[in-house]
Symmetry: C2
Subunit: 211 residues, 2 copies
DNA sequence: CCTACCGATCGGTAGG
DNA sequence: CCTACCGATCGGTAGG
């Protein structure tokens, strides 16, 4: 018997999912600290204490959201990475577009929260989720490019790992126009293709290569 | 008469600076929301309500901290950018090292806070500070590279502006080992040179260029 | 699954 | 520049 059953058992599992989904959207948009359990409750149509029936505490809810999100990302990224009919640069462009459009992930915020707002065990799991579900699929593409001889394995410290981090931080950190928050520092969403081009060819002037 | 003078006037200006300096370190490390006025007070050796004598509210204190920080960055970056005896790549490497070592800035967190925790007028000023003091000096270096013919002006969307954003987000977002927060996803501090190399030359395999 | 409520802490103010 | 304190809100619990 994993949990004592609720007094009113309408559709427990569905309610849990509703809380998770509302929490996911809020946490991704605003971050751990800015989102209160009352905001999650209102967005999912339940009373606030009910969250504590389904989840041990706010951090456990956040962790569960990140498990969900990591699974979504991993599936999408591995699916893109597996398309052998497309070139490595093509697949990297799809990855970049996916990360920029599908969700509003902010790697910088994620890392900051992982290191400042989480307990040690949670932090360790979040770090693993990030590595396995997001870093690994992208890094695998750069490594495939190296194996095929198209990319250099380690030109002055530029490894698949570093390139992965650069792609990720670039694509998920630029301020995007939208939600009336426009500033003159915004960067167009289409820039994700350019990010990939920069990582592969750099800015140096020279005759164009072909892929 | 700008402000009514305090009852006990020991060294008002020095106290103000002490508050600012403590706030700066705390805000840069932990972000706006995570830092309380009581933490700032304790770190600067004053009682908490005194902060409200020197600053209108927490957001005004944060803004003042960012003005200070932007001025520091601007001076350092413009000094590096002006070294005509060094090549553009050399100066970019110094810029990257500076941003990674000197402070623990997190661009992703900064942008997130600007858009979520600040009032419109504060947000506008923070956006301007960021553009003038940090973006502009770096972008100027890439533009100098373009003018000299060393870099391409806009190869498939890779502009000086995009390169600047990539450098900034890469260098200030990677998880760095330190403070007992080590995870297996950390990236060595020395990676800043590699970031610059990637942005200029990319990962594509080819005979080495010279600068 | 809800009502009622708690202790703690927050940003900020009164009043001197 | 401090003591004292406020209203609001937070994460979380009691008890059914």
């Amino acid at each position: 018997m994993p949990r004592r059953p609720p007094t009113v058992r309408t559709d427990t599992e569905e309610t849990r999912r509703a809380i998770l989904q509302a929490a996911r959207q809020l946490f991704m948009e605003q971050g751990f600290r800015a989102v209160t359990t009352r905001m999650v409750a209102e967005a999912s149509g339940v009373k606030q204490p009910l969250i504590y029936y389904h989840f041990a505490d706010k951090e456990a809810l956040y962790l569960e959201v990140q498990r969900d999100y990591a699974a979504t990302c991993r599936a999408a990224l591995e699916r893109i990475a597996a398309r052998q009919s497309e070139s490595v640069p093509e697949r990297l462009r799809h990855v970049a577009r996916y990360l920029r459009q599908a969700h509003q992930m902010n790697v910088g915020l994620y890392i900051h929260e992982m290191r400042h707002d989480m307990q040690a065990t949670t932090r360790a799991e979040l770090s693993d989720l990030f590595r396995v579900s997001i870093l690994a699929p992208i890094m695998g593409l750069f490594e495939e490019g190296v194996r095929s001889g198209f990319l250099a394995a380690d030109a002055r410290g530029v490894t698949p790992r570093l390139a992965t981090y650069m792609l990720l931080s670039a694509v998920t950190n630029f301020p995007t126009p939208g939600q009336g928050n426009e500033t003159s520092n915004d960067i167009a969403p289409e820039a994700s293709d350019a990010v990939v081009h920069a990582l592969i060819y750099g800015m140096v002037a020279r005759p164009p290569f072909t892929e």
